[in-house]
């Protein structure tokens, strides 16, 4: 095209775009994706739709925040989808079927999530099972227990907890608020707490951490328990949106969660990761799905696009790090 001749070198929007994305990592990627979607679809960039994106991102985001802890410490947690479903099921069963006070049921649901994580952590830390295997086992056990407790069918969610799926003032979705709050908690844990700093040390070099007096085994218990706790919160938010606890909910969500963490710039080999990055990673996945829906792209092709975005995001991040060295 002749128009190209008129442009000064470097002012090519494509080049500018690439550089901006490279420099800013995941955030650059999110902005780029939003710009593309806004250009392609007129319906994308309005308040209501953006809030929808937030709601769609919320469950994955909360799960991914918990998984971030585990990945920063060089572990992996495949069980979060199952644990989310199990926690929500226990909550609903306790409140609806057993008639326990709702606050007791909520505490029970959260405790089940943290307990499942604790168990995975114990298998990893004391049983010396590879995290992949321990949490794969928990994935199966959690899903199975959810089915056993519910008898395989959805249980109505107590309406007071169900409000977590509503909006505040008729417009602000509560799941978005919960996600932001959990994001703040995760950021605080990672940056400022003993357990958080220990996650980076264990993930960076477990032997050096141990020789420097970090109580590696106990920290692993806490790390996996936190992941389980975040999964329980995610499960409750999901059930609130669906107004019932479904034993078959959140199947495969663990992979979305891991994808979000990795897109957010964490390394699967441990030692790096940020809560903000993970939130951005979850948003990138949600924006992509939402945008492709608006563009009426088939669900089949959406899967292809999601896979490409995951690969591209990590590829760009690797390039960015290499150029920064």
């Amino acid at each position: 095209m002749s128009a190209e001749v008129l442009r000064a070198p470097g002012s090519d929007p494509g080049q500018w775009f690439t550089r901006a994305v490279l420099r800013n990592g995941p955030l650059g990627g999110l902005v780029a994706l939003v710009v593309v979607m806004a250009v392609l679809s007129r319906d994308f960039l309005n308040g209501q739709n953006l809030l929808n994106v937030g709601v769609q991102a919320s469950v994955t985001a909360i799960l991914a925040l918990g998984v971030t802890f585990v990945i920063v410490s060089a572990g992996i947690d495949l069980s979060v989808g199952s644990v989310a479903a199990l926690s929500a099921t226990v909550l609903a069963w306790a409140a609806t079927k057993e008639g326990l006070p709702v606050w007791v049921a909520v505490l029970l649901g959260l405790a089940v999530g943290a307990g499942a994580g604790l168990l995975s952590g114990a298998l990893v830390a004391y049983g010396r099972l590879p995290a992949f295997i321990a949490t794969l086992a928990m994935l199966s056990v959690g899903r199975g227990l959810a089915l056993v407790i519910s008898g395989g069918s959805p249980i109505a969610f107590p309406s007071s907890v169900g409000r977590l799926g509503d909006t505040l003032g008729g417009w602000l979705p509560v799941p978005v608020l919960v996600t932001v709050a959990m994001g703040a908690v995760a950021a605080l844990v990672l940056a400022r707490t003993y357990t958080g700093r220990a996650m980076f040390a264990i993930g960076g070099n477990e032997e050096a951490a141990r020789l420097s007096g970090i109580d590696v085994k106990r920290r692993k218990l806490v790390i996996y328990a936190l992941s389980g706790l975040f999964a329980a919160v995610a499960g409750i938010v999901l059930a609130a949106r669906l107004t019932s606890a479904q034993p078959q909910a959140a199947v495969g969500y663990e992979l979305d969660a891991i994808a979000a963490v990795v897109i957010g710039g964490a390394s699967l080999s441990g030692g790096s990761g940020k809560a903000s990055g993970t939130l951005i990673g979850a948003l990138i996945l949600a924006v992509l799905r939402n945008g492709l829906n608006l563009l009426s792209v088939s669900a089949f092709w959406q899967q292809v696009a999601t896979g490409l975005v995951i690969a591209l995001a990590v590829l760009l991040d690797t390039l960015r790090r290499r150029s920064a060295r």
Binding site: T193, A201, A209, S212
Partner: protein, 531 residues
Amino acid sequence: MTGVDDDEPGGRELLRVEGVTKSFPGVRALDGVSLRLRAGEVHVLLGENGAGKSTLIKMLSGVHRPDEGRILVDGREVGIRSAQDAERLGIATIHQEFNLVPGLTVAENIFLGRQPRTALGLIDKRTMRARAAELLRRVRLDVSPAAPVAGLGIARLQMVEIAKALSLDARVLIMDEPTAVLTSEEVGTLFAIVRELRDSGVGVIFITHHLDEIAALGDRVTVLRDGRSVTEVPATTDENELIRLMVGRDIAEQYPRERPAEPAEPAESAEPGAPLLRVRGLTRAPAFRDVGFDVRAGEVVGLAGLVGAGRTEVARALFGVDRYDAGTVEVNGRALARGDVRAAMRAGLGLVPEDRKAQGLLLDASLGDNLTLARLEQDTRGGFVDRRGQRRRAAEVAERLKVRMSGLEQTARTLSGGNQQKIVIGKWLLAGARLLILDEPTRGVDVGAKVEIYRLVNELTAAGCAVLMISSDLPEVLGMSDRVLVMTQGRIAGELSGERATQDAVMELAVRPVNEGNTYEASAMEGSDVG
């Protein structure tokens, strides 16, 4: 300076580097470096860490390309763009980190990618093994070509690397600190092999931090400093002169140990004369047996012996990393729980491990995080870490240790060996350790940083701390220790102090088989044990 052989070694010129310059973002790694290597000489490349030795070698092995300058092989200018180019020119490099595949056999490693084939194109195992066996004989390595590489110790791995270089018919052999991880006997074998190669006309570029090896093996020395080739001198040059050339200033003493005139004042909390550390009957068969010794405040106690004598194992057991079967460890008179690193730390112990990259550092974390790692718990109040206080303390200790860094945000991986070691030591200073166990503290550390580490040891002991120093570097152990314990086959074979601590005496104890009678009992009878 004496000896005609040293001035005119070997024959014709094999390799010439002329005015080579190489810049990386922010640094000029090489600045007009020149080097001439003749056939049949051992040419030592000497310089502090960061002087540009690695960059130069990487240029010769095809990893980097020069920005300016020329490289000539046999008088013809060449461009070395890849490892294959280097191979074709007959340049083989043995890096510090070996390029061996653990799961494959010795023969497969030697011929990796160049395996002899049969007429059908399959790998001809018989020929490969026969040729490997021949090469292994040349490097005097008594292992089967069919043995997996995984089980071999470091010294043998190195010999396999040399065999691999020989299989390439290398005319130029570059060895990057080959002796850093070897015991003195192994060094002897290595030298014999290198001499054989030299006599057969190979030009050897040899990098070492051990100055005594230069006169023993080398013919000529090229000194690099700050990316420039300072000069070329004969290998017979006086050690102090070499140091001066290398660091650009005089280092008064290589081992500036300031020994306390009298036993230093014990720490206030301790009973007068009571040892800071008391070890009795420490046993974990077969690694070590009935090990006993004391370390007093203000003392540097050396732990010498051959690699595999059990020194590191004892250190790890003391520090609670590994368990032990019997015996006691007391700090300030109080027994220490077994297998509990945190208890050892609370009692004031600190361990600077032998492999700082694998055991001492979070390589990709910031220097600040590394320095404050061992006091993470101390800095935590109600679950929250005092990050501001940590940054302040890290900055203070980095300043005190003169760590050469761009800032506390720099990652540990990018520091030189000496500065990395300062970070590991600084970690224990911040944690308030009163007894530091230093395991091979100056391995891979250049001369300038070594002296800084020794000074720091002096400072610490002057302040009433104590140091237990494990080292395979005999001059270092003898130069820095107030007393030397020698370990052999898992036992303490004896103690030497003062004038009786000589290299010969240590080696004699180190290689002498232990009989049941001479178990070392208590350090209180200083100097009175009769060998």
